[in-house]
């Protein structure tokens, strides 16, 4: 039969390839047959995925026997997985609220242990736009709020013209793009608009875009950037590091023109206070965006860990990894690879002290 030799060849080929091997992985580091203490699992915010990728790569290179898996399924998924004990640390776009904290609530932690919120990732949120013939755009918070609320619908509206006297703004419609999925970026952006232009932006900060304000919806940071860069007369908001092929607007606050740069973004934590009533090492910040000269639209993501872990080996892994993330070296690596803003030295020191206190 003609088929038989072909079948034989096929079968042998399949048998050889049944178990996979990767050229860039030395034998025994696949993490599958290793002991549990050599695998560290985290889950959470997708905003810091690119940074986590770099941190994981550096950490695994330095410690060849350890595998770290970070799954960017979203802050909420991360927080609930951490509470249920499925992961050893979580990434979250906001710190745990008071009602979510509490000794003994977290399955990974020891019975009397609370959780710690440690800021590890700061990223400025840029207002991006695409308009034929316009490279520079300046907006103040009130005008920006009106655009995103659907109150200003044309590019040559007097409010925009007043802020940009030299630009030839056309008489076309504005398509304002927002995030369709619940997102920390939306939360921080709406918080910015609410803090700086409360009479226009009456809704308080929320993960979901207020339905009443309309506009075009896109999924994910890449979705928003793609929609803005591919459309005509579009404006939106996204992580500054993801803004490619689009113009970035500057924010005019109290006469100062602010750009979403790394230094300006990291300053916001230095001007803010930690949430009251928390433990000594819990660094949950309540961001004050109204300080002078501080670029207000900033996203701060946290690593949520235990004060005391049930298992000493896990505690050591977490301390090593989070310690690396929050170090000057780790923050600089993330800035280069993911475009984030490195934590200021003062905050780095506080985070280091908190990590050292983990048992």
């Amino acid at each position: 039969m003609k088929i038989k030799p072909i079948a034989a060849v096929l079968a042998t080929a399949t048998a050889f390839t049944l178990v996979g091997c990767a050229a860039n992985e030395a034998a025994g580091t696949g993490g599958t047959s290793s002991a549990a203490a050599q695998t560290l699992t985290g889950k959470g915010a997708s905003s810091m995925k690119a940074a986590q990728e770099k941190w994981v790569a550096d950490f695994q290179t330095a410690h060849t026997g350890i595998t770290v898996n970070y799954s960017p399924e979203g802050s909420s998924a991360g927080r609930s997985a951490f509470t249920a004990g499925a992961v050893q640390f979580a990434g979250s776009d906001r710190p745990l609220k008071d009602e979510e904290m509490g000794a003994g609530k977290f399955a990974t932690c020891a019975a009397d242990s609370n959780a710690l919120n440690l800021p590890v990732y700061v990223s400025p949120i840029a207002i991006i736009f695409k308009l034929d013939g316009i490279d520079k755009l300046s907006l103040d918070p009130a005008t920006a709020a009106k655009i995103f609320a659907g109150q200003i619908t044309k590019w040559n509206d007097p409010a925009i013209v007043a802020l940009n006297p030299n630009a030839k703004l056309p008489d076309s419609n504005i398509t304002a793009v927002h995030r369709a999925d619940g997102s920390g970026t939306t939360n921080n952006f709406t918080d910015t608009l609410h803090q700086l232009a409360p009479e226009v932006w009456t809704e308080s900060a929320a993960d979901d875009w207020p339905a009443a304000f309309g506009g075009e919806a896109a999924t994910g940071t890449s979705g928003v950037v793609s929609a803005v860069s591919g459309g005509q007369g579009t404006i939106g908001y996204a992580d500054a590091s993801a803004a490619k092929n689009v113009g970035i607007a500057s924010l005019a606050v109290n006469g100062k023109s602010l750009e979403p740069s790394a230094e300006a973004a990291a300053a916001v934590i230095d001007h803010s206070q930690t949430v009251a009533g928390r433990g000594e090492h819990d660094l949950a910040y309540s961001l004050d965006r109204t300080s002078e000269g501080v670029y207000p639209a900033v996203l701060v993501s946290y690593a949520i860990v235990c004060e005391t872990y049930k298992d000493a080996a896990t505690a050591k892994l977490v301390k090593d990894y989070i310690g690396y993330i929050a170090s000057a070296e780790g923050q600089q690596a993330a800035a280069t690879a993911a475009g984030s803003a490195p934590l200021s030295a003062a905050i780095q020191a506080k985070v280091k002290a908190a990590v050292d206190s983990i048992k």
Binding site: A22, A23, E25, G30, A57, T67, S71, S222, A242
Partner: protein, 370 residues
């Protein structure tokens, strides 16, 4: 003596032969459009369509040319055919032209998608993509071997679960369940199952594993369960239809010879339908192999190779593609290239499966007259 004398028509004495019913002839002796008519009409309508599109928009527009040209072509052929050949032939030509038009229309988006995938995917289609994973890789380099193996494991296990269950159910519905209540119930609910959103299947598998194994259990087999929920209805529906199409005479001949029912099914009905059955199974595999949402939730995410379906997260190609697109680093180009190559690999895997399926079908099918 000819009964085909057309001279006794409603319009009185008419000229014979060579004219359509509109001019008094009848269908059996009506004329035929010369073969060249189609081509002449095509060229003429293309030219006129081009002219109209230039007049309408001031510039040469391919889309409008094709649109106007096609409509014009249909009109010309309809009128010509009706006058010369008759309404039945005109109807036949019209149907043929519409069907070919539908085919060409569908080629546009399908061709566009394939072209996108192939041209963008060739950038990283090199040996390093197929031998490296993403462990410790940031930016340039790396590959998708962990995702490729993950997809093969997860989809293979899903097929192992779904195909036997689906095929046996299809056999039950087609052979044993004629009109009884259980069969009606199964058919109805299988149809409902086709509408389960893929993300719900993922959530279901995740929760099932949380019950069976413990909370937050994310591993390859969970992804297989999610995919099975999506695959089984497709397998059942397509196989059932094809088993029903096997002529009853074959079954009855077998029964008449004393062959037990189950042997009839296994040795006669299934081989007769094998080509379609294999097609149906490949269709089901193709349907689920590209599902992103359920695998992200149930099988999880990792940058390293994992050969164990039952422990630790396992990366799969669609999740790899989505992740590379949605979370590129500061320089997105290498990530996007890897994403497209991953997508191209997925398509090629299904192509390979299709070929293997055809080989199997050719081996087992009885020779038919077609």
């Amino acid at each position: 003596m000819s009964t085909l004398n057309p001279s006794a028509g409603p319009l009185g004495a008419r000229p014979t032969g060579g004219t359509g019913p509109l001019l008094g002839g009848d269908t059996l002796t009506s004329g035929r459009l010369p073969k060249a008519t189609t081509w002449v009409a095509l060229v003429a309508s293309a030219i006129v369509g081009f002219a109209i599109s230039v007049l309408a928009t001031g510039a040469a527009n391919a889309g409008l040319t094709v649109l106007f040209g096609y409509v014009l072509f249909l009109l010309i052929m309809e009128v010509a055919s009706r006058v010369v050949e008759g309404p039945r032939q005109a109807s036949d030509r019209r149907a043929g032209n519409l069907i070919i038009g539908a085919f060409l229309l569908a080629l546009l988006p399908l061709g566009s998608v394939t072209w996108e995938a192939v041209s963008n995917g060739m950038a990283r289609f090199d040996p390093s993509f197929f031998t490296n994973s993403m462990r410790n890789v940031v930016g340039e380099g790396g590959g998708g071997v962990h995702a490729i193996y993950g997809t093969l494991y997860v989809t293979g296990m899903a097929s192992l679960i779904s195909v036997p269950i689906g095929l046996l159910t299809a056999i039950y519905l087609a052979e044993y369940g004629a009109g009884n209540r259980l069969a009606k119930l199964i058919t109805f609910f299988v149809d409902v199952m086709t509408g389960v959103p893929s993300i719900v299947a993922g959530l279901f598998a995740y929760s099932l594993m949380a019950l069976l194994v413990g909370p937050g259990a994310v591993f390859g087999f969970s992804g297989s369960v999610a995919l099975s929920v999506l695959m089984i209805p497709v397998v059942v529906r397509s196989c059932e239809e094809l088993l029903r199409l096997v002529p009853n005479e074959l079954r009855e001949a077998a029964y008449a010879l004393g062959v037990p029912k189950w042997v009839t099914i296994v040795r006669i009905v299934i081989p007769t339908a094998i080509s379609g059955l294999v097609s149906g199974v490949i269709l089901a595999i193709a349907r689920v192999i590209g599902e992103t949402a359920p695998l992200m939730i149930a099988a999880g995410f990792t940058a390293s190779l994992n050969n164990n379906l039952f422990a630790n997260p396992m990366m799969t190609l669609p999740v790899f593609v989505y992740d590379a697109y949605a979370h590129p680093g500061v320089e997105p180009a290498p990530y996007l290239e890897r994403a497209w190559t991953g997508a191209l690999t997925l398509i090629l895997i299904v192509m390979l499966l299709n070929l293997i399926g055809r080989l199997i079908a050719a081996r087992f099918a009885p020779k038919t007259g077609r």
